[in-house]
Amino acid sequence: MKRILVGIKRVVDYNVRIRVKPDGSGVMLDGVKMSINPFDEIALEEALRIKERGQAEEIVVVTMGPTDCQQQLRTALAMGADRALHIVTTEALEPLTGAKLLHKIVEREQPFLVILGKQSIDGDNSQTGQMLAQLWDRPQATFASKVELTDSSAKVTREVDAGLETLEVDLPAVITVDLRLNEPRYVKLPDIMKAKKKPLESLPVADLGVETKTRIKVLKTEPPAARQKGKMVKDVTELVEALRQKGLV
């Protein structure tokens, strides 16, 4: 079966203005709207389009985290994924641990393509896809803005600092996606109903044989230094004068 594996992470919705807990122990998550990481939605959309073009037969989505994450898996199933895997853990996982767990799933599912978001908007690490590719000893094409598949390879355009780079990678491979790859579809109500019947398998993290102990200890979390309140100017003349005084023009 030609299978694509897509990673789904539950994160604070990108529209939420997060707040840091006053005791510095983390970010306030109680009652905050949670969503699929926006990059992962794009990853899933790309997988669905590949399947719709007849270049894949099955889309499997996988997440890691507590029970609540199943909401995001159900959304992914409603978008069109065929099957979902939930690696159940209540611990925070470091990217390398996450990559090792995904590698276990890759060994089990044997996908010809793994598509992940280029970063998650909570940790902002941008590590998991690359680590998975290395553990799997396969190619990676990160920050993708265009993907063209043949039977044995993928031609991927990447958004890099210098512009747009194109790579050709043999399959199987890991692709991490950037924002401009596609626009994810909206989920329709009947699809949500249908998604309830699709298979969702829970895998206790302990069964996967990966050491999950954290090596990066978070000592404290603080809000960023606040900027000094600025000043409104009434016209260009006043602006130029203000900039001149600061030696900026």
């Binding site: 203005r17 997060i18 983390g26 970010v27 470091e94 990217p95 390398l96 909570d122 902002d124 690490n125 941008s126 590590q127 896809g129 690359q130 680590m131 998975l132 590719a133 290395q134 553990l135 000893d137 190619p139 990676q140 094409a141 920050f143 890099v160 600092d161 210098a162 512009g163 780079e165 194109t166 790579l167 050709e168 990678v169 043999d170 950037d178 924002l179 401009r180 090596r215 990066i216 200890k217 978070v218 000592l219 404290k220 979390t221 603080e222 809000p223 960023p224 900027r227 600025g230 000043k231 409104m232 100017v233 009434k234 260009v236 602006l239 130029v240 900039l243 001149r244 900026l248 023009v249």
Partner: protein, 317 residues
């Protein structure tokens, strides 16, 4: 003692300034011994530049035709083979470093810290999360090898020193894969200063409405000798190329002066400009969130303000 290996970023025989910033970051670890590694087809010119940076103990060149295009899957095993005896392995938090370093970390089975903004000690680091809205201080156990990418906007570049470090060549033994091939690079050519190192940056947002309208931004930038940036909305709409995007998922800038024209100030954009010394916002909506972070705000139509600004700045010269 901390032995730090820094992976040089370079293109066209020139060392990227992000590397000199990694050196600054590394030198905040007391007693750090810093080695820069240059992976290239022919790294001599780049190594010579790296060897001049103050405080660098040694430069290692790894010349190999396979290193021509900095493919992460090809370079990572060579870095890992070199890195065994080092306590820390640093790369820049650019698309080059973000692509490469996690593969290195996976090979070394070392934890990676992305986007490090402060180094408090050999084991304690500060890095942003949630689009820089939650700044975390993290620690690893002493003796844990650490891989990190260094946030360029948080460090100044190490200048040239009075002495030159010795340059050695190395041939790390690593099997290099052939599964990844470089096809091409479409690089935007411009004479404007580089966005990430420019002292002044002018950015345009969705309000510009077309690629053609961006001309007024380029024109003001030219007058000021400034780099040009854009919001995601402007890039998505095709008004500006992707390499100009500033923000959480684009570039982080740290100029003395940042002028945002027709940009609303979404958190994902603001995270890219928080290190700007002075922010100017031009927006027709007095409620736009950009004004909350601006040092100087001007409410009005950018299509009249921007040309007027250019004229008046020209007049002050």
């Amino acid at each position: 003692m901390s032995e730090i290996l820094i992976i040089a970023e370079h293109a066209g025989g020139k060392l990227n300034p992000a590397t000199a910033k990694c050196v600054t970051a590394a030198s905040s670890i007391a007693g750090a011994k810093m080695t820069i590694a240059v992976f290239a087809a022919d790294g001599a010119a780049v190594a010579a530049q790296a060897a001049k940076l103050a405080g660098v103990a040694k430069v290692i060149t790894v010349d190999n035709a396979a290193n021509q295009h900095a493919l992460a899957a090809v370079i990572a095993p060579q870095v890992a083979a070199l890195a065994k005896s080092y306590t820390h392995v640093f790369g820049p938090s650019t698309t080059f470093g973000k692509d490469l370093m996690p593969r290195v970390a996976a090979l070394l089975d070392a934890p990676q810290l992305s986007d490090v903004m402060v180094i408090e000690s050999a084991t304690r680091f500060v890095r942003p999360t949630y689009a820089s809205n939650a700044i975390t201080t993290v620690e690893v156990d002493a003796g844990t090898q650490v891989v990190a990418t260094i946030r360029s906007a948080s460090f100044t570049a190490t200048p040239e020193g009075s002495s030159t470090a010795p340059i050695e060549s190395a041939t790390p033994s690593a099997a290099l894969p052939s599964h990844t091939r470089f096809v091409g690079l479409a690089a935007a050519k411009s004479d404007r200063p580089d966005l990430q190192t420019a002292a002044r940056v002018i950015s345009g947002g969705r309000a510009l409405g077309s690629a053609d309208a961006f001309k007024i931004i380029y024109s003001l930038a030219e007058q000021l000798g400034a780099g040009v940036g854009a919001s995601r909305a402007a890039v998505d709409a095709g008004y500006a190329p992707n390499d100009m995007q500033v923000g959480q998922t684009g570039k982080t800038v740290a100029p003395d002066l940042y002028i945002a024209c027709g940009i609303s100030g979404a958190i994902q954009h603001l995270t890219g400009i928080k290190d700007a010394r002075t922010i100017v916002a031009i927006n027709k909506d007095p409620e736009a969130p950009i004004f909350e972070v601006a040092d100087f705000g001007l409410v009005g139509d950018l299509f009249t303000i921007v040309p007027e600004l250019e004229k008046q700045i020209a007049a002050t010269k």
